[in-house]
């Protein structure tokens, strides 16, 4: 096992959210990671937390990378393929940095909470002050280190702020079990800061949701 000796999780700061996500998952549970990319999070969960980890990924490249690592990953689309999973088949359903790229974020979130009792969602906060600043002072769609793709090429078609996301959580009858905002260094912000501070200074957010009832 040569790959293992290499540093397994050389995450750049942009994906610190994965470590925060992983920290929300209880050991020895069943997890579905939607948009699992090259399987970094799945592997982290499987090897560090003994999780039975499954994934869905749109790109053939990503699926091949995952399968080559011995992970159970299906080529599929968050918007169309969640419907095929039975109710309550997972303890956690994870969607990291993908919600804003789905065609119907609300339906995706509802499906996640149907398939699993808990959902973990991480997303870029469009209320972050630099983003607000670019829109306000330059009058252009924002381009940041975290969101470097211009508006006409970005897959991100449904941006939201932390405040927007909280409203959606209410709409789909879920409750927030935990929430973490990450600042531009990728570090978690103070837990007792008010929501408006998170919404202004958080560059990303990670929510652990639980289905009501």
């Amino acid at each position: 096992m040569t790959e293992r000796s290499a540093p397994l999780f050389a995450l750049d700061t942009a994906r610190v959210d994965l470590l925060v996500v992983a920290g929300m998952v209880a050991p020895n549970t069943r997890v579905l990671d939607i948009g699992c990319g090259d399987g970094t999070l799945l592997r982290l969960l499987a090897e560090e937390r003994g999780v039975d980890a499954r994934g869905i990924e749109l790109s053939q490249r990503g699926v091949n990378d995952c399968v080559a690592k011995g992970l159970s990953v299906i080529q599929g689309d968050a918007d169309t393929d969640l419907i095929d999973y039975p109710d309550d088949s997972f303890d956690y359903v994870i969607l990291s940095q993908t919600l804003q790229a789905t065609r119907n974020p609300r339906r995706v979130l509802e499906q996640m909470l149907r398939i699993g009792r808990r959902a973990i969602v991480s997303f870029p906060n469009f209320g972050y002050w630099r983003i607000r600043g670019q829109l306000m002072f330059r009058g252009r769609m924002p381009i940041t280190e975290n969101l470097p793709i211009p508006w006409y090429e970005t897959p991100n078609i449904h941006f939201c702020t932390i405040r927007d996301f909280r409203a959606l959580v209410d709409e789909v009858d879920a409750q927030i079990e935990r929430a973490v905002a990450l600042d531009n260094s990728g570090a978690p912000m103070r837990v007792n800061a008010p929501w408006w501070v998170w919404n202004l200074f958080g560059e990303q957010a990670v929510f652990l949701l639980e289905r009501q009832s």
Binding site: M1, R54, N64, L71, I74, Q75, D84, Y85
Partner: protein, 398 residues
Amino acid sequence: MTEIDPLRAGHAAWCEADAPHSLVLRLPADQPLLMDAGVALAPLNIAYQTYGVLNADKSNAILVCHALTGDQHVANVHPLTGKPGWWETMVGPGKPVDTDRYFIICSNVVGGCLGTTGPASTNPATGQPYGLTMPMVTIRDMVRAQAMLVDHLGIDQLFCAIGGSMGGMQVLQWAATYPERVFSAIPIATAARHSSQNIAFHEVGRQAVMADPEWAAGRYFETGRLPTKGLAVARMAAHITYLSDEALHRKFGRKFQNKTAPTFSFDADFQIESYLRHQGSTFVERFDANSYLYLTRAMDYFDLAADYEGSLARAFQHTKTRFCVASFTSDWLFPTAASRSIVHALNAGGASVSFVEIETDKGHDAFLLDVPELFATTSGFLEGAARARGLKTAKGTS
């Protein structure tokens, strides 16, 4: 069309049916194959090949299941055609199904014509080929016979069962019938049931065979004249379904064969015509017409969910087998939707499953061709499964 000497062709094929150039397990009369048709077939011969070495605890065996017109000669020169094995791209030293690490088994299916009991085999009770007295064969019968072979080799659990098309059907049947005997399964370009369209194509092929007067209601072995024309037409029609429109266009387009203008005749003006005629004429040299009828029928009858109250998920409920399902974008015979429904059922049954749809314009035949993504997926999946099974990995550490 090249003229075939039917007696010579028939002779060679029939020699393989009774005395194949491969290993043969000859089971005695008290070990019959209990067939879905309600018949106990005995004595049963199973012709097979093996590659690589079985390890001490017999945990590294991979069963390769062949497709409709395949046979046990996966990775060695074919005794009739002299061509390389049909899956040498996939199976061999350092290949995804690595003969340096795994013990590979491939047997000719029941109903086949390369040494496993089938319509071309001599029925010891009559001294004549079985012909149409051979009981109807199902995919499950093929798998039962393979299980008898695996028993004979002393193997409790296969490390993997892998196959494409009809081979993929056998892989699914293995996983459903003997879940504890298959650690991992790789069904490629296949379906859990044969579609109406697929049955229709097979029926065209069968009717072509039966419309040939030389078929003689399946008793052509009495005349020594084979229904080569009918079988060649069946093969030509089937071959079209294995390719995609793009692949045909890329390869042949509307190009003329050795000509620059049409001959205004029914000669093979176009390259595609000449290619299909060649496919038809070479096929009849190595394949028995009755066998073709039986095996296409076995595929038609395949409907795995039907055996589990119509629920495919039930066929795989609580299975511990790890699955890797693969399909090809341009395969219209076993389209991605068919693979997806297998994946849905496996998910619903809580199985560990990977699925990849591979982008290629090569059509259904892609599983037999040089498609690097398929090799990468297969070797990666097997590597992961080998780790989980505690087998030695490629670098020699466990």
